[in-house]
Subunit: 157 residues, 2 copies
């Protein structure tokens, strides 16, 4: 057989999925490489493989790596003094931005957790429920919610 169109959803067959993953991952890396060289921009892509192992891919110019790496390190490491004035100015701006960033990231985490919980409650993520225990528990929760709503309806009508 030859190539067929595939549906945009998780490939159920695991070995197939693995093969597809490798191919498409490689293709993606190539694409990003082309984009950055053709258009002279910085860019990176990071893909985390299915499970257990942490890092996956790193398809971008090393300088980007370095910049972000520095970001992670403590700001104290700036010993050498070249243009001091400008440096301290820039340094302040950086720490300001870092702090703001960190705050936003934290906020994101909280929001994400809430969202996931709520998605469960609305049945959006039902695909992930496999054991009947989970489903039953959810059912109870939902019943509570339903009661809340019907009460509200009664109150209004």
């Amino acid at each position: 057989m030859t190539r067929r169109k595939i549906k945009q959803e998780l490939i159920s067959n695991e070995s197939k999925r693995k093969v597809t993953f490798k191919k498409r991952k490689d293709g993606l890396l190539k694409k990003i490489d082309e984009l950055t060289t053709l258009c002279g921009v910085m860019g990176c892509a990071i893909i985390y493989g299915t499970f257990n192992n942490r890092p996956e891919i790193w398809p971008s110019p090393p300088e980007l790596t370095l910049v972000l790496d520095r970001f992670k390190e403590s700001p104290e490491e700036e010993k050498d003094k070249y243009t001091v004035d400008q440096k301290t100015f820039l340094g302040r701006r950086i720490s300001m931005l870092s702090n703001a960033l960190e705050r936003e990231i934290k906020k994101n985490r909280g929001l994400e957790v809430d969202l996931i919980l709520n998605e469960y409650l609305t049945g959006k993520s039902m695909e992930d429920l496999t054991c009947s225990e989970d489903v039953k528990e959810l059912d109870l929760l939902l019943e509570e919610k339903i009661k809340l709503i019907t009460d509200k309806i009664v109150a209004i009508v």
Copy 2:
């Protein structure tokens, strides 16, 4: 004329380069989206447009921390190479942080909207519903969700 093969190097014509950038950037986003859904993995791509404009891309669940951790592994010699020009280095760091910040803020907005929607669906924010029309609509939505869950239960039990 029709499509020609192009050399893998910076496109000299600026307007052409811009167009190509947009097309390929969009293509890349699509690809990463497909990869993550087809193979069930996490992934992200970040493209920094040319200096003047900030917009870049963030196609998927960003785990910035993980990304940053990854950068500890960058080779020493390249680090040294890069420290030469501190000013440029700091300047880039700033623009990158700004971009990251902007991204996170945008993401926050999106998450917040989703959360509110979901809270409506779960009945948490029912206080705000005043007209019976809204309630009825919500009721319908909920019934759909309930069916989804009961179906799931039937399938499992």
